[in-house]
Symmetry: C2
DNA sequence: TAAGTATACTAAATCGATTTAGCAAGCATT
DNA sequence: AATGCTTGCTAAATCGATTTAGTATACTTA
């Protein structure tokens, strides 16, 4: 059962490849192919179940209908759920996805970009690691649309989708403050990336408004979960006066919660907890974990819509948009002491 | 900055495309290209940063070095972590991944297979939904290697990677029995898929050995989490004598744990809990949730290794292997009542 | 010295589509 | 009767690689 090609069809029906191609691309009318021949071709194509070779088509047209998606780690629940939605959105518009994990590593990312370019993807969706500013600009110069998400490069004009990191973080910190916590630690990544900086800023702003001291721990990027747990545990031991912790991203919380358990601290009485990023099980935890939920579906929708605007030409090449979506703070028991009201 | 092609290089250096191609493919020696010319070409190629167009190459050679991965849902932690590892393994062997979510829907899957075939992927990795037996066979007939995982079709010979579902389930049920639970419910999907059937079998076997009655609830496949919670809650209310629950897959547990909370039942005293599939936070739950962990990394390795054996010709075309990996039961507090020892 | 064989390289076919340019027949118009 | 416009269709170029089947020269060897 060899694959059947345009040529085969043309030969079988004793017409030219051109004619078949016109018919299949809906250009029969404008090229004066008779209705009867058009039908005959369509019928035959249907019968033999012909599917065009997309490599050949892509080679000729330069369009592959494939979008490259680069995320930090596809096994991270935030990224995998975004990926799922992007897939859904893109599929519905006739695009396919190829994805990979950057591990937040610039060199790996650069390689991946090369690979994808050589595969002629039509556009890119990227949660960029630091250090690929130039590559992003190069892509845009060579007319390959790019949408960044989760973070971006302030100095590079791009289409971008992020959440209101600073404001969300500010609000969450205030939530802790309103519930009586004062010695609030902010546990984040040792990263200059804009989303982490914004989250940090929000925390600082809220603390400074109350003239409270900061407790900031920066965890190196590539530590294993166990090591992260150790680090956080050590930090909390060094600062026994800390009465609340704000985890700046999901997987720090996963390790941090373990550290808290190891130390025998009780939420929310001994320690209040808020996490940036919601996880499915946070709601069921005991106590349930207060979390900032990012609007996954909206993020994905905005990303794909920005990219498609560029791909279809609906948006001008040098006209970049930054979409900033708001988050939802789910106030759960981990940050709401029973006595809060009376404090 | 237009893209540079083989032809451009050939013209610049005043040699033929053939020569350049030979050099780039490491076939200089065997085609008697002089060392000096070889070096000159390599140097120039490096200089201009030429990267071959993979579409053209794929069209000509029929090899794209791309593997299609179809999972049920990329946002499911089990599948996303498998995907991550597959990506890692495949990348290290020079292959790229294109993936998508089947939603366990046969029609969607069939479409996706067509799309991927038209993009000339070299092979497939599939967690198959029911009803695509014929398509799998067709792929194999047209010489496209396929590896199934998580489940398979007993009547179709394929390379397959699964875990010891029945035995794992049997052991986990026995674990509950040894800890004094007797009215054990098995909450599973209304699915004929082999992995679910095997898990059910393992449960039944253990229960029957003790001459105990079954409590089996089958949840329809496409329910939303909230609906699943309701269903499970209703089931537990109807059978108040149930003293333990075995969830046959991860997302049933996510909903089931909520049902248990809603009913005010305490683990492990009121109800013992075991889950097929471990999740990151199960260890940190209160009480920690006993779970059967699948060996993600090994599964991914086996999958890729089976597929590569077929792709490289190391394994014969009609020589199919079934790899069955063992799981680990993490016995945590959700299924180990404090009094268990004395019962 | 003729035949054989390395050496160094290339022309052209090929993969499977799309697309440009154009042919041929029929009809209307002047 | 010559010109122009439709209509209906096709030949051939093209995208950018790989690969087959050469060619031309130089060097052995009998």
């Amino acid at each position: 059962m060899k694959k059947i090609s345009l040529k085969d069809i043309a030969e079988q029906l004793e017409v030219s490849k051109t004619t078949v191609s016109f018919v299949l691309n809906g250009k029969a009318k404008e090229n004066h192919i008779s209705e009867s021949l058009t039908q005959k071709i369509l019928k035959y194509v249907e019968e033999v179940g012909y599917v065009p070779n997309q490599l050949a088509r892509g080679l000729r047209t330069g369009e592959t209908k494939v979008i490259g998606v680069l995320v930090e780690d596809i096994s991270d629940p935030f990224f995998s759920s975004i990926a799922r939605r992007i897939e859904e959105e893109a599929n519905s518009k006739g695009y396919k996805i190829v994805y990979c994990s950057t591990e937040n590593n610039a060199d790996k990312t650069k390689e991946l970009l090369e690979v994808y370019k050589s595969r002629q993807v039509d556009g890119f969706i990227i949660a960029p690691p630091p250090g690929i500013e130039k590559e992003i600009q190069a892509l845009q110069k060579s007319n390959l649309p790019v949408v960044l998400f989760d973070r971006y490069f302030p100095e590079v004009a791009t289409d971008t989708v992020v959440v209101e990191n600073q404001r969300s973080s500010y609000n969450a910190t205030n939530h802790l403050l309103h519930n009586g916590y004062k010695q609030i630690a902010f546990i984040t990544l040792a990263s200059e990336q804009v989303q982490m900086q914004d989250r940090l800023q929000g925390y600082k702003e809220a603390m400074e408004e109350q003239h409270l001291a900061h407790y900031i721990q920066k965890i190196p990027f590539d530590l294993k979960p166990k090591k992260i747990t150790k680090e956080i545990q050590a930090f909390l031991e060094q600062h026994p006066n800390i009465d609340a912790v704000f985890f700046a991203t999901n997987y720090l919380a996963d390790s941090g919660l373990e550290a808290i358990q190891n130390l025998g601290l009780e939420m929310p009485a001994d320690i209040g907890v808020v996490v940036f990023d919601d996880e499915k099980l946070f709601r069921l935890f005991r106590p349930p974990i207060t979390a900032i939920a990012q609007p996954i579906k909206e993020i994905a929708k905005s990303i794909v819509s920005l990219l498609l605007d560029k791909l279809t030409g609906a948006a001008k090449k040098n006209d970049y948009k930054k979409v900033e979506l708001s988050t939802t703070l789910y106030e759960r028991a981990s940050s709401v002491p029973v006595l809060a009201a009376s404090r």
